[in-house]
Amino acid sequence: MSTLLTLLTILLPIGYLAVWADYLWLFYTDNPRARRTCSRLAAAMVLLHMIVMVVRAVGLKRLPMGTQSEFLGALALAILGTYLIVERRFRAKGTGFLTTGAAAVLMLLASLAGPGVAATSPLLHDPGFAGHAVLVLLAYTALSLSFVYAVLYLVLARQLMRRQFGLLFRRLPALETLERMSVVAVEMGVPLMFLALALGHLWMYDLADRVDARTAQALTPWDPKILLSWVIFLAYTAGLVGHRLFGWRGRRMNIMAVAAFVAVILGMGAMHHFFPTFHKFPTLDESTIATPTSDPLAMASREDR
């Protein structure tokens, strides 16, 4: 089994690169064969990667996002999977070269990062935390796709304004479609973010009951990252409401989408820079968690030992 897993781990980046190459082929030549194969190849890669993730999770008895390599791989899978959902809905393959390219680069980096040392935090064994982490990953992936589509909207609008009828004009979908793709990505990201935040809060309160008083103090809802996440959630929700109820559309709407995502990246970067210990629960390790037999977190930790 481990040999097969190793083989699949080697094959995955190659597969991701093949998907990217297929979408690039489609973008540059609009070849009918590329049109037929690209989505199927991408879907096959998503399926294969999901199988690898599940097998790895079962083997490691934890969420396979503990190392840098695992995290980058999961991000690549999230991007490719979310992109496929959007592509299927709009039947527009002209933007695939960008998103599959991002996924392929992440997958390559994951592969180059090597196996690494897994984070020893017992949190990774906890299903509540695992769900929270996966939802956060998916939510931010959806928002990043929204950013990509908004950027493409602005690029195409600029080309049309300048009467440049080049490759982007020929291959990209209509401005209206790009805007809808961006909005749909936000519509996917906002509820996912809400679920991630809600699950995170519930899980945190549950965990607070099982750790000592000093550690419980670190589990605060006033964690800057949590607060920033709520701000991001509210900002995107407001954008959606504006779009739905007040008919916000066009260039201004897409500039807002780009600005919002840039703010997210800058905000998160600043957060990590100025408050590096927040949301890392530094005092939380296996010894600090109470281990009643009914506690799944504790049981998972014991199994690990």
């Binding site: 609009d30 070849n31 049309l160 066009g250 201004r252 709407m253």
Partner: protein
């Protein structure tokens, strides 16, 4: 060409003949049928044996850009003599088919031409798909009257296959190559769901009406016509409504279960309206697409008019197309945010770009046509083998059936089925080897010798005497 027949085409097209000549050569459907009847009625033209029709089959193809006559005649017959006689019989202008503007192609060259034609490679607009439908119609008409000969039958089927491959495996038919379609293609870069958007046509000239028809064909949700003469706008709106309603499957509208497309057409027809000239600004404010084609000497769409229209759009782009000369839209309109103004030169650039993209597909298309022609050649090469191989196969099948019957009597059905399967494989291999030996003969004489031997050994007559 097929051993007993030869294939020919006589073509008058936009490539080699002016419009006046093409008009003289044009054959209506009735004339085409008359020609087919006349030629298949039998004649001895061209030196064929008396009493035997020299023309095996004829398929006339006549469109606005070309008239082509595909002929399959008995080997040795003069196709020109056959055609002249047929044209004379129906009282057509026969001279036009034998003048300087005619392209004469015979045998494989004629087939290659047909394949290229079906692929849109011979069309005025490279890759245009209409010719395939026209060829299919000509083929259907021919089959309805007289079954084409084996050569033309195979050639047309091969041509349709080649056309399909070229269209699906290359991008030779994509992208607008006319200004009117380019207008739609450009508008589609803004709005992909046309049915949810509204267009306004300013001016009711011929170009504008044509563009409006294209937008309606692409299911624009609402069309408003504005003209200085309100009567003319109303008249064009009525004409366009009528044209829409002509597409109905159930024109009476009595069917309560009217199809979805019928309902959509009726709804669209209802949304073709006219507005008076003084409501131009209001019409623009309601629209997502503005087409302007008036004959005015001064701009009629002014910046303040558009500025007011843009105000309530919440950032939704306004697509404006000015195909009037001189321009209808004031140059400052293009400076307004979210307003995209295009002109004829932009449409022309798109058309030229698409044509270049289509031309880039020619080598790929030629390769595909070459592959299909190779298949036709192979079929042609094997045509003399077919009767002999059929007899050889029948002989082997006969032996196999006897052997299987024997095994069934001696053993069981299961064993017989196994033997049957095994002998089928054996027959396949023996036939394959024999055909390959005949195909690989170095000379025609050697090939004939091989076939002769097979015929001698396994023909029905030999077996009967055996």
């Amino acid at each position: 060409m097929t051993g007993v027949t030869t294939l020919h085409v006589r073509s008058i097209s936009h490539k080699n003949a002016p419009t006046a000549v093409r008009e003289r050569a044009h054959l209506t459907e009735e004339r085409a049928v008359e020609l087919m009847d006349a030629l298949s009625a039998g004649s001895a033209a061209g030196g064929a044996e008396a009493g035997e029709p020299v023309c095996v089959s004829v398929i006339p193809v006549s469109t606005c850009n070309r008239t082509e006559i595909y002929l399959e005649v008995r080997a040795g017959a003069d196709p020109d003599a056959v055609l002249r006689e047929g044209l004379r019989a129906i009282g057509a202008d026969e001279d036009v088919f034998f003048g300087e503007h005619v392209l004469r192609l015979d045998d494989l060259e004629a087939i290659a031409h047909l394949y290229r034609l079906a692929s849109g490679m011979e069309s005025m607009m490279l890759g245009e798909p209409q010719i395939t439908a026209q060829l299919k119609e000509a083929y259907r008409l021919a089959r309805a009257h007289h079954e084409p000969g084996p050569g033309l039958l195979r050639a047309f089927q091969g041509a349709f296959r080649a056309g399909k491959r070229v269209r699906t495996e290359t991008r030779i038919s994509t992208g607008a190559v006319s200004v009117a379609f380019a207008a739609v293609e450009l508008a589609r870069k803004f709005f992909d769901r046309f049915s949810r958007h509204r267009a306004v046509l300013v001016g009711t000239g011929e170009t504008g009406a044509l563009a409006a028809r294209h937008f309606l064909q692409h299911e624009i949700g609402q069309l408003t016509l504005v003209n200085r003469s309100f009567e003319r706008a109303e008249a064009l709106a009525a004409t366009l409504r009528e044209e829409q309603l002509r597409q109905l499957d159930d024109p009476t509208g009595d069917d309560a279960e009217a199809s979805r497309s019928d309902r959509a057409i009726r709804a669209r027809a209802d949304r073709i309206t006219a507005r008076p000239w003084d409501e131009l600004a209001a019409a623009i404010a309601d629209a997502d697409v503005v087409l302007s084609t008036t004959g005015a000497t001064e701009p009629v769409i002014l910046p303040d008019m558009v500025q007011a229209a843009v105000h309530g759009r919440h950032g939704l782009p306004l697509f404006m197309l000015d195909i009037a000369v001189p321009r209808d839209i004031h140059e400052d309109v293009a400076k307004i945010g979210n307003v995209f103004v295009f002109g004829l030169e932009d449409l022309d650039e798109i058309v030229q770009g698409n044509l270049a993209a289509r031309r880039a597909q020619i080598p790929h298309a030629e390769r595909l046509i070459g592959e299909e022609l190779d298949e036709f050649r192979q079929w042609l090469d094997d045509i003399d083998m077919r009767p002999t191989v059929a007899e050889f196969r029948a002989y082997l099948e006969d032996l196999k059936d006897k052997q299987v019957g024997f095994v069934r009597r001696k053993h069981s059905d299961e064993v017989a089925a196994e033997v049957d399967k095994s002998l089928q494989q054996f027959i396949k291999k023996v036939l394959g080897r024999s055909m390959s030996t005949v195909r690989n003969a170095e000379t025609r004489e050697e090939r004939q010798r091989h076939l002769e031997t097979l015929r001698h050994l396994f023909s029905t007559d030999e077996r009967d005497s055996d």
